[in-house]
C-alpha cells in the first residue's frame, strides 16, 4: 500500500501524461484510462488512501489529487477526439493541393457609369429627391427656348448641337439630341405642380471631337427643386451636403459666380483638388480647385414659361457630369475609357 503524499500524486501525474503522449490507438487510450483513473488505477488508489490521513493533510492532498484527476479526464477526452479523427481519415489517402486555384466562377460587373449614377442619385434620393428620366431626342423648345436660350442667342455656342434630320414647316429643324439634361426642367414643371424635388440622370450629346477630356456622348444628372421658399442658401446647403456624401468630409467646397442662361444667380461648385489637396497641380490646372457642377436659382423666365408665378415660387437647378466625377474619384485620366467597352477596363471593381 502506497502512502498518499503530494510527491506521489505528482509522480503519477508526470508519468501518466508522458505515457499519454505516446498512445496511438483507442485501445491503448482505454488501457491508460483503466490504469490511472479506473477503479484500480494508481491515482484512484492514492485518492482512496486519503482516508487514513489527518484532516488537514486530507484536505490538502484531496485538493491536489482531484486537480490531477480533472486534468487526466480533460486530456483523455482531447486525446480521444484526436485519435477518432485520425482513424476516420486513416483509411483514405486523397489529400489535395490546396494551393491550386478554384473554379473560375465568372463574375459580372455593372458599368462604372451605372455605378456612379446610382451613387450620385442615391445621395440626392436620401435628401428627398426623386429620380425621373426623359427623352434623349428633344425639341429645340425644351433643350433651349424653355431654358431662356432663344434662337440666335450667343449662349447657344456653349452647346454644340447634333441636329436630327427632321424638317418642320414652321420651325425649320427643331429636333436634336439633347445637349444636357436640363430640358427635363421644363418637362417636369409642365406636368406637375410644386413641390418638385427631382434628379434626372441621362445621356447627353454634343457635336464635339473626342479626346482625353471630351466625349461627344456623356451622362449628366440634372437636379431641380421648386417650391415656395426655396433659396440660394438651400442650394448651397443641398450641394454642400451632396459633396460631403460623395467626396467625403475632408473635401472643401467652393461656390463661385458663373453664367447659365436658365439660372440667376448662377453658380459653379468646385471641390479642392484630390490630387494636390488644393496646392495646385496639373489635374486642377494649378488652381487647387476642380469644378464639379453648375447650378443656380431657376430663372424667372423659365418659371414663367411653364406657367409658374415666379413671385410665389422659387427653386434651384443643377447639372453635373457623371464621367467627370467618376474620373476624379477613380483617378481615370482618359474619358474615352468609359465607352470603348474594353473588358480589361470594365472588369475592375
Amino acid at each position: 500500500m502506497v502512502v498518499t503524499s503530494l510527491d506521489n500524486i505528482e509522480a503519477v501525474r508526470v508519468a501518466a501524461l508522458a505515457e499519454l503522449e505516446s498512445i496511438e490507438t483507442l485501445e491503448g487510450l482505454e488501457r491508460w484510462r483503466v490504469s490511472h483513473v479506473g477503479r484500480n488505477g494508481d491515482l484512484t488508489k492514492l485518492l482512496r488512501g486519503l482516508g487514513s490521513l489527518d484532516p488537514e493533510s486530507r484536505r490538502e492532498m484531496g485538493a491536489a489529487g482531484n486537480r490531477v484527476k480533472a486534468l487526466f479526464e480533460e486530456r483523455l477526452s482531447v486525446k480521444e477526439e484526436v485519435l477518432k479523427r485520425a482513424l476516420l481519415y486513416a483509411s483514405v489517402d486523397d489529400s489535395i493541393d490546396v494551393t491550386l486555384p478554384g473554379w473560375p466562377i465568372p463574375g459580372g460587373r455593372l458599368h462604372p457609369t451605372t455605378r456612379m449614377v446610382r451613387d450620385l442619385c442615391g445621395a440626392f434620393v436620401s435628401m428627398g429627391f426623386q429620380i425621373m428620366e426623359g427623352p434623349e431626342v428633344e425639341w429645340d423648345r425644351y433643350n433651349f427656348e424653355a431654358l431662356n436660350i432663344p434662337r440666335d442667342h450667343p449662349a447657344r455656342d456653349m452647346w454644340n448641337t447634333l441636329w436630327v434630320n427632321y424638317a418642320d414647316e414652321r420651325e425649320g429643324r427643331p429636333m436634336l439630341l439633347r445637349t444636357h439634361t436640363s430640358p427635363m426642367q421644363a418637362r417636369i414643371m409642365e406636368k406637375t405642380s410644386p413641390p418638385i424635388r427631382v434628379v434626372v440622370p441621362g445621356k447627353c450629346y454634343r457635336y464635339e471631337a473626342t479626346d482625353a477630356t471630351h466625349e461627344w456622348h456623356f451622362v449628366q444628372i440634372e437636379g431641380l427643386a421648386v417650391d415656395r421658399g426655396i433659396t440660394f442658401s438651400d442650394l448651397k446647403g443641398t450641394l454642400y451636403e451632396f459633396a460631403r456624401r460623395t467626396f467625403g468630409e475632408e473635401r472643401r467646397v467652393r461656390f463661385r459666380c458663373d453664367y447659365f442662361p436658365f439660372v440667376e444667380p448662377g453658380v459653379d461648385m468646385s471641390v479642392d483638388c484630390f490630387a494636390c489637396d488644393g496646392g495646385g497641380c496639373r489635374v486642377c490646372s494649378n488652381t487647387g480647385w476642380i469644378e464639379i457642377l453648375g447650378a443656380g436659382m431657376v430663372h424667372p423666365r423659365v418659371l414663367e414659361g411653364v406657367g409658374y408665378d415666379p413671385s410665389i415660387y422659387t427653386g434651384f437647378a443643377f447639372g453635373l457630369g457623371v464621367e467627370r466625377i467618376a474620373m476624379l474619384k477613380h483617378g481615370i485620366e482618359d474619358i474615352r475609357s468609359f465607352y470603348s467597352n474594353d473588358v480589361r477596363f470594365l472588369q475592375q471593381t
Partner: protein, 815 residues
C-alpha cells in the same frame, strides 16, 4: 480676352498680388483661366536695360556693327546685326548665360559667348522675338526713353497677362476697361475713364460726310468722325506692345488704334479712306440680293438681305459689324479717314456671321449685345489717339445718329425679393454701396426701410448690357459681396410624394441580375451607320432609322434601331486584344423608333429600352480543373432564364427559324404570358463574318423592356409558405420522336395536379433507341396540399401522365 496687368493699371491702380486678383475675379464670375507672366524667364541679373552710347562699324563685315552699350556705369561692346541700332537708344541687353529664345533652333537656350568675325561680343542686344514678346527679329527692340540703364528688364517690361474666360452675358468684359470696372468693385478702388477730348481743328463734320440709317432696328446708333491729313505709318512702340501682349499683330497706326480702342472699350470700330467713299455718303442699309463685297481678308462674298452693309452712294463698302471692305480700306497713301463707331443688332450680326462663316472680333462683340452708349465714347477716344499717333486735323463735331435711342434702363431690387431668392438680406446700405462700386447709379425713386422693407432703383452703368430684372441685381450684389457670405441651409420645404417607377425598378433589377449571372455591362454610342444596321440584320421589317443632320462621322449618321450591331462590334474589338477568354457582355440602352401615332408628343421618336446580351468563347477561363468547352445557345438562354426568374417571370421558348440574324435551328422566340418579349439564339454565320467574328460561336439574346414590363404588371414580390406535406421524386424515361420538343413533354407532365415540378435531366439518342427517336428522362416532383402521398397515389398519377404522353405524343416508357 487677354488683359495685360500694365494696361489694366492705366485705369485702376491695383496693387494686390496677381494671383489674388485672379482669384477675386474668378469668384465673382469673371473667370481667369490662366495668367501668362511676360519676363518671368528673364534673369534680372543677366537681362537688363542698356543705352547705346556709340555705334562703330565692324572691321571685317559690312552688315555688322559694334555698338557700345552703357549698362549703368559699365560699358560693353557687342557685335550686332540689326539694321536699326543707333546711338541714344534704350535697348534690352542680354549677358552671357541669359536664357533667350533662339530663332535658329526654335528653342529657349542659354546665350553663349561668341566671337563674330574676329570680334568678341560681350552679350547681345535683343529683338522682340528673342525676348518672347513679339515676332520681330530683324531689328532690335527699342525701349521707351524712361528706361534706366542697368535696371533689370523685367522691372521695365515685365507684365502679367490675365486670360479671362468671358461668359456670353458679359460683352463688357471683352474689354480692358470692363475688366477694370470689375477690378474696381472687387478691390474698393475707383476706375478712371480714358481721356476723350481732342482739338477739333478741321472742317465741320456735316460738310464732309452724311450718314443715313435705313433700318434703326438693325443699326440703332452710328457715330463717326473724320480726320484729314493723317500719316499712315507703323504705330509707336507703346501701341505695338499693347497689341502684341494681347496677341494682335500691329498693322498701321490707324488700324492699330481701332483695335486698341476696341480692346479698351469693347466697341468695334472701323476706319475708312474717305476719298474712296463715293458721294461722301455713308448709308447703313441691308444688302441687296446677290450684292458682292470684296472684303479685308481678300475674299469676295455674295451678300443677301437682311445682312447689313455700310454703303457709299453706290456700293456696299463694309459688312456692318463683321468686316470692312477692301476698296475703302486705309492704305499707305490714305490721307483722310472716317472713323466709324456704331451699334448693330446682335441677332442680325450673328446670323450674318454664321451664314458667311465669318466670325470676327467685331461680330463676336456685337452678337453679345453691347450698349449703344459705348459708340460716341469709343469714337472720341479713337479720334484722340489717332491725332496723337498719326497727326491730322479732326473734324469739328462728330456724327452721332441715334434713331434707336431707348430710355435709360432702370433695375429694381427689394428687400423682400432678396430674402426670397438668396435667403439673406444684406441690407439696403450694403446693397447700394456694392452696386455703386460696380458703377450703378441711383435712379431717384428708391425707398428706404419702410413697412415693405427697402426698395432700390438703380441705373446700370453705360457699359453693362446684362442687367434687366431683379435677380440680375441680386446676383450682382451676391457675387461682389461673395457667395461665401450667403448662409448654407438645408431644404425645409415638404418632400413631394414619391411616384412609383416600376419600369425603371425592373430595369435596374434586370441589370443586377445579368451582372450577377457573370456578365459585364457595356454602354455604347447610340449613333451608328447604315452598314452596321444592315450587317446585323436590324433593318429587315423594322422602320427607317432617324438620321443626324450634321453627323460627325460616316459611322455615326443614324440613330440606332437595335443594339445588336454595337454589341457585335464590342465583342470583336475585345477579341482583338484578348482572344483566349470567354466574353459575357450585356447592354441596356435605348433604340429610337419613329413616333407612334398615339404618343402624346407627336413627332419625337419612341425611345424604347432594350436589353442585349452576348456570350462567346470558353465557358470558364483557362483552368486546370476541366476543359469546359465553348459557350453556346444554352449559356445565353441560361442568362435569360436567370434574369427572368429574378423578375418573377416565366417564359416560353419556341423555335424561331425565320429570323435572319440567328441560325435557323438554334434560335428561339421568347414570350412571357403569351406576349413576345425577345429572342435568344446563336448568331448567324454570315452575320459573324460581317463583324469580323467568323469561325466563332456567338450566342445572343435581345429582350424588350417595355414588353417585359407589360408581361409582368405586378412587380411586388411575395413569399408563400412551403407545402406542409412531403415531396416525392420519381424519374421517368420516355422514348419519343426526335422532333418532339422537350417543353411539350414537360407541359403535359406539369399539367397533372399532383406534379409540383419536373426537370428534364437526360437526353439520349443512339444505341438502344430506335432510329428517328430519342430518349428523354424527367425527374418529377409530386406533392399534395391535402396529405402525404402514398406510393399507390404516385403510381396512379404517373400512369395517368404516361397515358396522356402516349396518346398526345406517341411516347413510350423506356425500360
Amino acid at each position: 480676352m487677354l488683359v495685360p496687368l500694365s494696361w489694366l493699371k492705366e485705369y485702376v491702380p491695383v496693387d494686390i498680388p496677381t494671383a489674388e486678383l485672379a482669384h477675386r475675379l474668378t469668384m465673382a464670375g469673371v473667370e481667369v483661366g490662366g495668367i501668362k507672366e511676360t519676363g518671368a524667364e528673364w534673369d534680372p541679373g543677366k537681362v537688363v536695360v542698356g543705352e547705346v552710347v556709340k555705334v562703330e562699324p565692324h572691321p571685317n563685315a559690312d552688315r555688322l556693327t559694334l555698338p557700345t552699350v552703357d549698362l549703368g556705369g559699365e560699358a560693353v561692346t557687342v557685335v550686332c546685326g540689326a539694321p536699326n541700332v543707333a546711338a541714344g537708344q534704350k535697348i534690352a541687353f542680354a549677358r552671357e548665360g541669359a536664357r533667350l529664345f533662339s530663332a535658329r533652333s526654335g528653342r529657349i537656350e542659354p546665350l553663349r559667348a561668341a566671337n563674330i568675325r574676329g570680334v568678341k561680343s560681350a552679350g547681345m542686344v535683343c529683338s522682340a522675338l528673342e525676348l518672347g514678346i513679339g515676332d520681330d527679329h530683324h531689328g532690335i527692340l527699342v525701349l521707351d526713353e524712361d528706361a534706366a540703364p542697368g535696371m533689370p528688364l523685367v522691372h521695365h517690361l515685365g507684365d502679367a497677362v490675365l486670360d479671362v474666360d468671358v461668359t456670353p452675358n458679359r460683352p463688357d468684359c471683352l474689354s480692358v476697361l470692363g475688366v477694370a470696372h470689375e477690378v474696381a468693385a472687387l478691390t474698393g478702388l475707383r476706375a478712371a475713364e480714358p481721356e476723350l477730348d481732342y482739338p477739333e481743328e478741321g472742317d465741320p463734320i456735316e460738310d464732309q460726310v452724311s450718314v443715313e440709317i435705313a433700318d434703326p432696328h438693325l443699326c440703332p446708333r452710328y457715330a463717326a468722325s473724320v480726320i484729314a491729313g493723317v500719316r499712315v505709318e507703323p504705330s509707336p512702340r507703346w501701341l505695338q506692345e499693347a497689341l502684341e501682349k494681347v496677341g494682335q499683330r500691329p498693322i498701321s497706326n490707324i488700324v492699330d488704334v481701332t483695335n486698341y480702342v476696341m480692346l479698351e472699350y469693347g466697341q468695334p470700330l472701323h476706319a475708312f479712306d474717305v476719298e474712296k467713299l463715293k458721294g461722301a455718303r455713308v448709308v447703313v442699309r441691308p444688302a441687296r440680293q446677290g450684292e458682292a463685297l470684296a472684303m479685308l481678308d481678300g475674299e469676295t462674298r455674295e451678300l443677301s438681305p437682311p445682312m447689313l452693309t455700310i454703303a457709299d452712294a453706290h456700293d456696299a463698302v463694309a459688312l456692318a459689324g463683321v468686316m470692312g471692305g477692301s476698296e475703302t480700306a486705309v492704305s499707305d497713301g490714305t490721307a483722310n479717314i472716317l472713323i466709324e463707331s456704331a451699334n448693330f443688332d446682335p441677332v442680325n450680326t450673328r446670323r450674318t456671321a454664321r451664314a458667311l462663316r465669318l466670325g470676327t472680333e467685331a461680330s463676336y462683340r456685337f452678337e453679345r449685345g453691347i450698349r449703344a452708349e459705348l459708340a460716341p465714347r469709343a469714337l472720341r477716344r479713337a479720334t484722340r489717339l489717332m491725332l496723337e499717333v498719326a497727326g491730322g486735323r479732326a473734324s469739328k463735331g462728330i456724327v452721332d445718329s441715334y434713331p434707336g435711342r431707348r430710355a435709360a434702363p432702370t433695375a429694381r431690387v427689394t428687400q423682400r425679393r432678396m430674402k426670397q431668392v438668396l435667403g439673406v438680406d444684406f441690407g439696403s446700405e450694403k446693397v447700394e454701396s456694392t452696386l455703386a462700386s460696380l458703377g450703378f447709379e441711383p435712379a431717384g425713386d428708391s425707398k428706404g426701410d419702410g413697412a415693405q422693407g427697402w426698395d432700390l432703383r438703380m441705373h446700370p452703368p453705360y457699359w453693362r448690357s446684362d442687367i434687366a430684372i431683379e435677380e440680375d441685381l441680386i446676383e450682382e450684389v451676391a457675387r461682389i459681396v461673395g457667395y461665401d457670405a450667403v448662409p448654407t441651409t438645408t431644404l425645409s420645404t415638404p418632400i413631394p410624394h414619391p411616384q412609383p417607377r416600376p419600369r425603371e425598378d425592373m430595369r435596374e433589377e434586370l441589370r443586377d441580375a445579368l451582372a450577377a449571372a457573370g456578365m459585364y455591362e457595356t454602354i455604347s454610342y447610340p449613333l451608328t451607320s447604315l452598314k452596321t444596321l444592315t450587317d446585323s440584320e436590324a433593318l429587315a421589317g423594322a422602320p427607317d432609322p432617324l438620321r443626324v443632320a450634321n453627323p460627325m462621322s460616316a459611322n455615326m449618321q443614324l440613330l440606332r434601331t437595335s443594339l445588336r450591331g454595337s454589341m457585335l462590334e464590342t465583342l470583336a474589338s475585345n477579341l482583338r486584344v484578348s482572344t483566349g477568354k470567354g466574353l459575357r457582355l450585356f447592354e441596356i440602352g435605348r433604340v429610337y423608333l419613329p413616333p407612334k401615332e398615339e404618343s402624346e408628343e407627336r413627332g419625337l421618336p419612341e425611345e424604347r429600352e432594350v436589353v442585349v446580351g452576348a456570350v462567346t468563347g470558353p465557358r470558364y477561363d483557362l483552368t486546370w480543373l476541366a476543359d469546359s468547352g465553348d459557350m453556346d445557345f444554352f449559356d445565353a438562354k441560361g442568362m435569360v432564364e436567370a434574369a427572368l426568374r429574378r423578375l418573377r417571370l416565366s417564359a416560353a421558348y419556341e423555335p424561331e427559324a425565320a429570323q435572319p440574324f440567328m441560325q435557323p435551328g438554334k434560335a428561339a422566340a421568347v414570350s412571357c404570358n403569351g406576349k413576345a418579349v425577345g429572342l435568344v439564339g446563336e448568331v448567324g454565320l454570315e452575320v459573324l463574318e460581317r463583324f469580323d467574328l467568323g469561325g466563332r460561336r456567338v450566342a445572343m439574346f435581345e429582350l424588350d423592356l417595355e414588353s417585359l414590363h407589360r408581361a409582368a404588371p405586378d412587380q411586388s414580390y411575395g413569399y408563400r409558405a412551403i407545402g406542409r406535406f412531403p415531396e416525392s421524386e420519381r424519374d421517368v424515361a420516355l422514348i419519343v420522336d426526335s422532333g418532339v420538343a422537350s417543353a411539350h413533354v414537360q407541359a403535359i407532365i406539369d399539367r397533372h395536379k399532383l406534379v409540383k415540378s419536373s426537370i428534364p435531366f437526360d437526353i439520349y439518342a443512339g444505341e438502344g433507341v430506335p432510329a428517328g427517336k430519342k430518349s428523354l428522362a424527367f425527374r418529377v416532383t409530386y406533392q399534395s396540399d391535402r396529405g402525404t402521398l402514398t406510393a399507390e397515389q404516385i403510381d396512379r398519377a404517373q400512369a395517368g401522365i404516361l397515358r396522356q404522353l402516349s396518346s398526345k405524343l406517341g411516347a413510350a416508357i423506356r425500360m
